[in-house]
Amino acid sequence: MRARDNTIVLKHDHPMIKSMTADRFFDEMTGAGEDIRQPYAHYHQWFSQQDADRLDKKSREAEAFFRRSGITFNVYGQADAQERLIPFDLVPRILGSQEWARLARGIEQRVAAINAFIHDIYNRQEILRAGRVPVELIANNDAFLPQMIGFTPPGKVYTHIVGTDLVRTGEGEFYVLEDNARTPSGVSYMLENRETMLQMFPELFSKIKVKPVSDYPKNLRKSLAACAPLSAGTKPSIAVLTPGIYNSAYFEHSFLADQMGAELVEGHDLRVLDGHIAMRTTQGYKRVDVLYRRIDDNFLDPLTFNPESMLGVPGIMDVYRAGNITIANAPGAGIADDKAIYSYMPDIIEFYMGEKAILKNVETWRCGEPESLKYVLDNLADLVVKEVHGSGGYGMLVGPAATKAEREAFAEKLRARPGNYIAQPTLSLSTVPIFVDKGLAPRHVDLRPFVLVSPQGINIAPGGLTRVALTEGSLVVNSSQGGGTKDTWVLED
């Protein structure tokens, strides 16, 4: 409904809002259909006074800004390797200070438990002995690294950086979807999205008090430095290890190195020298104390893992085990974010923290168990089935969205390797409006807050990456599958 030609007025009798609320999904702006939810009140008021053409123009400006800055990514499996933008939506996703505080407590609890769990698995294995997690799940797990047994990394930190994927289904209903404990990506978008919003709508930020996220690179540096080996001295040297400029996340690697004031290195810049890791500079080799690696375990050390790897550093695992380099995240940390382990997270949290999990787990069927497999095969049309080791939305089946033929083909794969899959109910993911064609339309979202762990504590950036499925009705938010992003606001008290 338009008051003047180009001014958008959103009332509850607006047909668009009606269709949003009539739906079975929880919309974070309009809630269950009553008033605009409190965290969005000021924003909504501001939005309804905006000129739609101006917003349209801003939206295009944002895209030009991302292109000019080179905030692009490459998509795996695309032959022409074109660089693409992750679409940015200018309507922020807003969380109130109270709901955030609860989320943050839950994330902190979960991440603390994950670190305790990994340490236990590679040392005394008490949780296995107590029978709370089956031994086979660890023993037969590719992410389990025997090289880590009996070794404790500097500062006893395994997951220096975690990206906890959350979804919401109702007012207080948050679920953890995945614990990304290896090399979670996307934090550069959290930072650049905010920068973009600040440039596009400075007036919004003087009206609405939003917690800043810009400290993240500084905190990352501090947090990594606090995990340096004891021998590193007071000013440890930090480097970011990237697979190189053709990697899909290269922009983020260079962005973080730049923002932290750390060197951005590739495997061939590094070597083992006198029991340390050293990088080749114009003036000879210089010691590296902390390596924030953005390559997988398997590529880290061709002498220990994949001998074909050109991305890693031959001999780095020996230096690591001698305590002369910090690798973030620790090799073998993936044992904690495995999708089969995921289903045990409530037990894991209780076991190490002595309290109930604050954040809920999504109900999960482990297809390796015969009864679960039967249930999953019988209910394939209602379930989401994922590979245990998959990521990025690849190799998964979204039952309700799949055709009968697709489901049958997938059932074959399931029967062939049941242990490779888990299944979850399709959640009614919450929606947040996006700006389309001079109006608002609800789209499904998830949330990835970024967590830093050091001996000094756990630090969660207030906000995170909100990914949004741009296609109406779609539940897949991955950027590789056409998802976009939003700025994520956490309001000050």
Binding site: R68, G70, Y250, D258, E263, H268, R280, T281, T282, G284
Partner: protein
């Protein structure tokens, strides 16, 4: 600084310089082709030769027509020295050294790549050529402006400048080499229209046709032009200017690092060959031999720099 980063900066600026020089070569060739249609084929051939890509060209084409040469030099991705290939190389290197660049320099390089890939996506029509060549030059000026205006004067800046001048010295030397016979002091041709055209091409190829008229009060003679391109310290594309820049930028790095390198000695030696000499003594030595040796020594200097500062290991 990482050795790889120094190498990335050096090559990024070599490529940027090369793109600009290719555009300038095409511009000079185009101008001659417009004004002297009878010499056109030979002119386009020498443009390709100067670019150093004659063999690759020969694999695709039999004749040196304007359309083929322009397409080959501007947008053929099979030609590693086409403007399109070079622009993409420059940007890859800029991505590699992103943390060493200011936002302004990075965005200028990225913008240059976005603009030129769009502009050169389709074959270039003759009517558009002048404006496209102009855009290439402007893009290059934008990067240079961002570099001068925003970068700290440290080793990052020095390696950028060293790459620029190694490439530029090589380009100017190649232009002289390809046309050296027109620059020889042979009195019988002086004043003939053939020479005038050739000389103008040479001067245009280094954007010095106007400067020459302003700076050199003497008549346009072969030795005055050779002197200008090789020894004149005022001309930013002369060999003497380039080597003096290389010497001083390498000296800044050496002072910064508290060390002296083999490349410092090599650069000074190369530069000293151009100091305190007159053009006659170069003619006596043999212009072709002199330029040939210069190109070889300049290349060797480039390799020495790569080694001294561990670009590759």
């Amino acid at each position: 600084m990482l050795g790889k980063t120094a190498g990335g900066l050096y090559w990024m600026f070599r490529y940027l310089e090369r793109a600009e020089n290719i555009a300038r070569l095409i511009e000079a060739g185009f101008r001659i082709a417009l004004t002297r249609s009878t010499d056109a084929e030979a002119e386009w051939r020498s443009v390709v030769t100067t670019s150093g890509m004659e063999r690759a060209y020969g694999e695709q084409y039999d004749t040196f027509s304007a359309a083929n040469v322009i397409d080959f030099l501007l947008r053929d991705t099979a030609n590693p020295s086409s403007v399109l290939s070079i622009t993409s190389n420059a940007r890859d290197n800029a991505r590699l050294v992103r943390t060493a660049l200011t936002t302004e320099v990075w965005e200028a390089v990225n913008d240059s790549w976005m603009t030129l890939t769009t502009l050169l996506a389709e074959p270039v029509r003759e009517t558009e050529l002048p404006s496209i060549l102009n855009t290439i030059r402007q893009q290059s000026a934008q990067v240079r402006g961002a570099l001068h205006g925003t970068m700290l004067r440290n080793d990052i800046y020095d390696f950028s400048r060293i790459g620029t001048f190694i490439e530029r010295a090589d380009n100017t030397a190649r232009i002289i080499d390809v046309k050296y016979y027109t620059l020889l002091p042979s009195t019988s041709f002086v004043g003939s229209s053939l020479d005038n055209v050739q000389w103008e091409t040479v001067l245009r190829s280094v954007s010095a046709h106007r400067a020459f008229r302003w700076l050199d009060e003497s008549e346009m003679t072969s030795s005055a032009i050779a002197d200008f391109l090789i020894l004149d310290k005022r001309l930013p594309r002369s060999l003497a200017f380039c080597t003096s820049q290389i010497v001083s930028n390498l000296r800044y790095v050496a002072e910064d690092y508290g060390n002296t390198y083999e490349c410092n000695r090599k650069a000074e030696k190369l530069h000293s060959r151009l100091m305190n000499r007159d053009i006659e003594s170069i003619f006596e030595e043999g212009l072709h031999e002199f330029i040939d040796a210069f190109i070889g020594d300049n290349n060797a200097l480039g390799r020495q720099i790569e080694e001294d500062f561990r670009f590759n290991g």
